[in-house]
């Protein structure tokens, strides 16, 4: 059986957690991701920037009642990468 290589961008705890959250919703704010992953702001910020650079998520910055908001949304490329990652995992686990 041929083993697919696991996407190194997704095979990291926090980035995978963020992608799993974003695949379940239409879009989510930074604070939602932070609360659900229990990550620190600094670490989360670095990881979502990496995901953005890979083209897996879109980040929009806006103001709501004078408070800055960072909204993250998974892209079609991100969905494809996530699906491939899960398929590769299944191959490894012989599911």
């Amino acid at each position: 059986m041929q083993f697919k290589e696991l996407d190194p961008i997704l095979h990291s705890q926090l980035r995978l957690a963020v992608m799993s959250l974003l695949i379940s919703v239409k879009e989510a704010e930074f604070t939602f991701l932070k609360g659900k992953t229990n990550a620190t702001s600094g670490n989360l910020s670095v990881q979502i920037t990496k995901l953005k650079e890979a083209g897996y998520i879109d980040i929009t910055k806006q103001f709501n009642n004078n408070y800055p908001q960072t909204i993250c949304k998974i892209t079609p490329k991100g969905i494809e990468a996530f699906e491939n990652y899960v398929k590769a995992l299944q191959t490894y686990m012989n599911l």
């Binding site: 095979h11 995978l16 799993s20 959250l21 695949i23 379940s24 990550a39 899960v86 995992l89 686990m93």
Partner: protein, 197 residues
């Protein structure tokens, strides 16, 4: 080593994905507030109109329904405020919102058509048919049985309402509202309290 660089096994990866997808789901629980506010108001309007028509012989008792317009305006602000404070947008919530928007549009159109043709005698059976639609669909979307049962109750009562006089039809609407919105509303409220504590 930072948390994000901890080496994961394949099994841990799958577990993380499952746990995160479940955590995202928790957020979509409904508080039931709108079901309860609307449920109690419509129940109140039905009973006031019934008492007005049946016991006081007051034909303008239907005017009580204008209260629903005040609530509709309040709801626009409530939803706007809630949307602003919400940190996540889910597909489920979006589709559910559209279901209720379609219900609202159909309601306005039916009232308009009825007033154009001056046919008000079928208002109550039609209202019951309409109440059933978003209730049933919300039940399917939220995977929440009490709403599905409530929707079916509305439809059954709409058939029953064609066999009884106009003023008693109001009592059927009251029963429909209790089964479709008030009871599910309280169950949703209780469930959401359990989830949050």
């Amino acid at each position: 080593m930072p948390a994000n660089e901890i080496k994961m096994t394949e099994k841990e990866s799958l577990e993380l994905i499952t746990s995160m997808i479940n955590r995202a789901k928790e957020k979509v629980n409904e508080s039931g507030t709108l079901y309860l506010i609307w449920g109690w108001l419509i129940l109140f309007c039905c009973l006031v109109q019934f008492v007005g028509l049946h016991f006081l012989n007051y034909p303008n008792a239907y005017l009580i329904w204008f209260l629903t317009w005040i609530l509709a305006i309040y709801q626009v602000f409530y939803i706007r405020k809630k949307r602003k404070s919400s940190t996540v947008k889910t597909y489920m919530r979006e589709i559910n919102g559209y279901v209720w928007l379609v219900f609202f549009i159909c309601m306005i159109l039916i009232f308009f058509i009825e007033s154009r043709f001056q046919v008000y005698s079928i208002s109550n059976p039609l209202l019951l048919v309409l109440y059933g639609m978003p209730t049933f669909l919300s039940g399917i979307i939220l995977k929440f049985k009490p709403l599905i049962i409530g929707g079916i109750c509305c439809w059954a009562l709409s058939v029953l309402s064609t066999f009884i006089p106009f003023d008693y039809q109001l009592l059927l609407i009251a029963i429909a509202i209790i089964s479709a919105w008030i009871v599910p509303g309280y169950i949703l409220k209780q469930n959401s309290k359990k989830e949050n504590y």
